[in-house]
Amino acid sequence: MFEKVLIANRGEIALRVARACRELGVKAVAVYSTADAESAVVRFADEAVQIGPPAVSRSYLHIPSIIGAALKTGADAIHPGYGFLSEDPYFAEICFDEGITFIGPRPDVMEKVGDKATARDLMSKAGLPLLPGTVEPVNTLDEAHDIAVEIGYPVIIKAVAGGGGRGMSVVQREGDLGRLYQTTRATAQAVFKDSAVYIERYLETSRHTEIQLVCDAHGNGVYFGERDCSVQRRHQKLIEEAPSIHLTEETRREVGEAAVRGALSVGYTGAGTMEFLLDLDGNLSFMEMNARIQVEHPVSEMVTSVDLIQEQIRVAAGEELSVSQEDVPLRGHAIECRINAEDPDRDFAPTAGRLDTYVPPGGPWTRVDSHCYPGWMVSPFYDSLIAKLIVWAPDRDRAIDRMDRALTEFEISGRGVKTTIPFHRRILAHPQFRSGDVTTDFVEHFMSEEAAAAAAAS
């Protein structure tokens, strides 16, 4: 096991990783910008190094400062958290060159799975189902035309290097193909410096389903069930749950096993997620792989009783996974709400400010992953996540009731600070959410429904 792990991140995930380190008996080093000098992880960690000004380009993304802090403090590993440098093969490579273990996959593996075309090719070979479409990049408009005709409209054109909802266009009919093919390529070139695109069938309505897995360096891999993240707005997830109520036991096992096989086939090590679209007939199609721990990992932890961050650290240290597939049956239902400092009435604009009141909920099976405390300044420099509220219950209905109860207990206030708590409560109360029949366009419909009701009332 490592002696000391440097956490190259901030906010709730930095604290989450530091807690895992403490329980493993590993020393934790926090790095922080001047805006985060009073942060919870700086107090909690065994050591802390101020690495730069608030701007991320000179602090949390500034590789020389982070490596410098690791070398100075004698850290033998770096945990990148999510976001920032977590999926940067260049950073992983520098860690390796400096003799520091990067807690994640090898740089070459990270690069492979990060390229969507390569990932699709590799996972299709491992037996994961793909949507009808191309595995190879589409190089000419003629080719694009032939493929679209073959798989049928609507189709979606996606940048090979794309991500986060950028660099993709839905083509409803043939007449739009030429224009959208050109603009998607141009956007891909401008944003991702790679104009390569591929084409696949576009599903109008589907559920975002993802499989959590962890692989060690001894050829073992375990999947930790799936998460449904269909409650999202513009590709930003708001509510996640585990398991998905739309997956049969058989599909779960088949796809879980194929996901592990696919990950092991490329030499993947560490925690990772395979993203799928689940159509209304219950068919899964592989979308992409995320080579990092994800924000919503706690819901999987709650239904499997496994600390995923600890497993991640363990396998990075060269140890075997502490659990095998038989040890992780799914139990009960877990839901996570992302409490953001955002104003849903003003298009979810971030609302930075000092938290005068911060009283997290408690009670049975209620977990709050947060770095906030009364007096904490929600900074305009970083993301607006205040807390992840996670509840567990024996079934989905009771989990929703418990979540609503916990949301009513959560007190957050400060000058100018608005949160997504009221929005979450309205979603939980919606009959469609209650029924579980939620697809990725749910939030959009929900919001126009609310807007229409408000207009009718005035």
Binding site: I51, P53, R58, S59, P64, S65, G68, K72
Partner: protein, 163 residues
Amino acid sequence: MTEPAKRKPADQDLIRAVWDEARDLIKRLEGSTVQRFAVEAGDTRIEIERGIPAGVVASAPAALASAAATGDEAALAAELDSRHPIKAPLVGTFYRASQPGADPFVKEGDAVDAGQTVAIVEAMKLMNQVLADASGTVAEIVAEDGQWVEFEQVLMYLQPPEE
């Protein structure tokens, strides 16, 4: 004694790759205070030394002035006795001279002008100039040569010129 290994003829591809890397680096360093860097692959090494555009110098003091106080007692005392602290612009190793054996950029008692290089901080073999963000006389150099410093750690104090 063994025969020294025969020097391989320079590999054109390698040279080109090193050049590309160097060109890419130069572009990425625009607006930074990195002064000198080297790119190396096999026998091929390119070392670049660059001047710092005036704009960068001007922007540094604002960034430093707006940052929160470190809480360091020495810094507090210094502020009370009106000395001006010069702080580390990034994490790295503090050096008083451009290279081992060279004269230090400044010594105690030297007069410096705003914008003048007073030290370097090395981070991953990149030499970053530390520029004086005010004019004055070097009153005290508190960081040791070769010492590892955090962002905004006080390196030295200037005595402002008499009004």
